[in-house]
């Protein structure tokens, strides 16, 4: 099992940023998600975030909404998410779950943390859990030995950044822009400033996500951040592919391009 600490230490030693790829469990199919993640890892992703599909993804743009909807229609359950994590962790990548809070709350925080650790997962990202409400989750995660990552945003004040960073153990997720997930033409101007404002409040790696989708953007972000997070661009490749084989090829190609970017 590869931990986040190992990943970031290694990336730092190589003088590059880590590459973090996102895919929802059960998309394009239950097995297809593991295959796609494996292709992403082979082509250079260091960390994989497996999305837990949720009925009301209010932080997500149309691409992820579409993938999540297909996954839920296909009957994806939390047990499938755990199996996906197990499969992906088997590739040697550090594997996280990205999830809205309600499914974890309902499943039981302690049980979720334990099951995730048992599946080989090393942490979570919880985009709608704020420091005020995060106490039980941080405790459950610590007990299970998994990391917690929360988000800071361009709108965050110093005080908020400090509070959020204090709850993180794996890395701090800096949202590059004010908006929902989805690839953009350019990475938000605010991203660099946000990373700089976050540094004084944490010794943890700071990674940038939202809107990153090309090797050129990855290179730009890698200059100031410790990790580059890409989701919608991978999903777009799979959605646009005529069949699974070409989808996998397209995903592998994008991961390779991004892997070059984070090393630029």
């Amino acid at each position: 099992m590869t931990t986040l600490q190992t990943v970031f230490a290694k990336a730092k030693a190589d003088d590059r940023a880590a590459l973090i790829g996102y895919l929802p469990a059960g998309f394009p199919t239950k097995e297809g998600a593991v295959a796609a993640a494996a292709a992403m890892v082979e082509a250079g992703c260091d960390v994989i975030e497996i999305g837990l599909p949720y009925s009301d993804p209010l932080m997500d743009g149309p691409t992820i909404q579409d993938a999540v909807h297909r996954s839920l229609t296909g009957g994806t359950r939390i047990a499938d998410v755990m199996r996906t994590v197990e499969g992906v962790a088997g590739t040697g990548a550090a594997t996280l779950v990205m999830t809205y809070w309600n499914p974890v709350d309902r499943y039981g925080a302690d049980r979720f943390a334990r099951d995730l650790a048992n599946a080989g997962g090393v942490g979570t990202i919880t985009p709608d859990l704020t420091p005020e409400e995060a106490g039980p989750w941080c405790e459950a995660s610590a007990a299970a030995g998994i990391d917690t990552t929360f988000l800071v945003a361009p709108s965050s004040t110093e005080a908020r950044i400090k509070a959020v960073a204090a709850c993180c153990t794996g890395f701090v997720y800096a949202a590059s822009l004010m908006g929902v997930t989805g690839a953009r033409e350019t990475v938000g101007e605010a991203a660099r400033g946000l990373v700089e404002r976050t540094r004084p409040h944490t010794g943890l790696p700071v990674c940038v996500g939202l809107g990153v989708g090309t090797g050129r953007q990855a290179a730009e972000v890698a200059r100031y951040a410790d990790g580059v997070i890409v989701g919608s661009a991978f999903i777009r490749r799979l959605l646009d592919a005529p069949d699974e084989t070409s989808g996998l090829a397209a995903v592998r190609e994008l991961a390779a391009e991004l892997a070059v970017g984070v090393r630029a």
Binding site: H69, P103, T130, E132, E133, S155, A175, V180
Partner: protein
């Protein structure tokens, strides 16, 4: 109580609320364990900004005065009470008195909250408002206030609701709003709220999310309640004048819960007054057939607040159903969740068929065509009257008028 004169509806204490009933949320926005904020961090500063500005506004006599002025001269307040004896014959002879929110400008209680928040939007220096709408009443009210105050206005509405409330879509457009049909998920109110949040996070620098009910993250449940409180503040005074005593029960329909809390709130401290909320029982008790959030749901998080939710055992939201778009919502305001758990209010289900029967009955016996949402409370009052007996007085919130529902009624009754 307050230093109110005849020409003012609201004394400063009516908005300041400040624990008048010991029931303001705590600093984290919690009513007991309910409420709070489960939202992307990006929205926290905006929520803080709204909360801080609201706190200043409600302590500012100029703001309260301006709100009061709009309520009187624009919304048409105070709204009257109407006793409905012919309708009440079916309630075992109990007295039924309606609070006529249907007589406000735009035809539903939503205008109260909207005028308050539109004034707040101006104080915040924002130039654009967005809103979700189910029945279209909140959308119409928001479009109306935006026209009045020169704000840009975008309304998110589930595609299914756009169809069943087509008249209101046309009204919003005429008022200058952009109506965006939301075609994902259940294509109803829940999905419209998701879409409005997505817009807000991207445009928060110049946009206020004019939330339409007492759900959502703190401070919306508190703000919307305070702006809707005028319903109960007036009604309490009026029913004392009319009957010489407090009612035995007050009744209201519960979608997100704003008209119900608006009526209930002034009575929470009156121990002898029972508070009854009526949710949409839809077609039946099966999954996906109703919107019985408080009566059949479980505690979870939806749209930024901990509350009762219709969800499966893995926390996925279960789609609701109701013949009335305004009650077709799988969540509910956290203050109702709290009132339920402390036993102060009681919530019940009313089916589509029962609501439609009360809808037609009020029209035939009293010459008032109610909104189908409000008809759930009317149906509830009939049952309640038979339970409480002929000595009882029941005050019902007639939250809106039924013009918007004529398409549904034509189909339902083959008119």
């Amino acid at each position: 109580m307050t230093d109110r004169t005849d020409s003012t509806l609201l004394g400063p204490a009516d908005l300041v609320g400040n624990g008048v009933n010991g029931d303001d949320p705590d600093a984290g926005g919690k009513f007991g364990v309910f409420g709070g904020r489960y939202v992307p961090e990006a929205l926290i500063p905006a929520l803080d900004e709204v909360a801080a500005e609201y706190d200043k506004a409600r302590n500012d006599p100029a703001f309260v005065g301006e709100f009061d002025h709009l309520l009187r001269t624009y919304a048409g307040r105070p709204t009257t009470l109407t006793e409905v004896p012919r309708f009440a014959e079916r309630a075992g002879g109990a007295r039924i008195v309606l609070k006529r929110e249907d007589l406000t400008h735009t035809g539903a209680h939503k205008i109260n909250n909207v005028l308050g928040q539109a004034l707040l939007t101006k104080r915040l220096g924002k130039t654009r408002v967005i809103a979700e709408t189910g029945a279209g009443q909140h959308g119409v009210a928001t479009a109306t206030a935006a026209a009045l105050m020169g704000l840009e206005c975008v309304i998110y509405m589930g595609a299914v609701d756009c169809e069943r409330q087509a008249l209101n879509v046309a009204r919003m457009k005429l008022l200058g709003a952009t109506v965006v049909p939301v075609a994902n998920g259940s294509q109803t109110l829940k999905d419209a709220i998701n879409e409005a949040f997505r817009d807000w996070v991207a445009n928060v620098d110049h946009t206020h999310y004019l939330f339409g009910t007492i759900a959502g993250p703190h401070p919306f449940p508190e703000i919307v309640r305070d702006f809707a409180r005028v319903i109960g503040v007036e009604a309490r005074r009026q029913i004392l004048e009319l009957t010489g005593r407090l009612p035995d029960a007050v009744a209201a329909a519960v979608g997100g819960g704003s008209n119900a809390i608006g009526l209930f709130h002034a009575f929470i401290g009156d121990e002898g007054v029972r508070l009854h909320g009526y949710e949409a029982g839809g077609r039946g008790a099966g999954e996906g057939e109703h919107a019985l959030t408080l009566t059949r749901g479980s505690v979870g998080v939806l749209h930024g607040a901990r509350t009762y939710v219709l969800q499966d055992e893995e926390g996925q939201t279960i789609e609701s159903h109701s013949i009335s778009a305004g009650l077709d919502y799988p969540g509910v305001g956290p203050e109702h969740a709290w009132l339920k758990d402390i036993g102060r209010a009681t919530y019940h289900g009313v089916t589509d068929a029962e609501a439609m029967e009360a809808f037609a009955l009020l029209a035939r016996t009293e010459g008032i065509i109610p909104a189908i949402e409000s008809s759930h409370a009317l149906a509830g009052a009939l049952t309640l009257g038979r339970e409480l007996g002929p000595e009882a007085t029941i005050l019902v919130n007639l939250s809106g008028r039924g013009d918007k529902d004529m398409g549904t009624a034509m189909k339902y009754f083959n008119l």
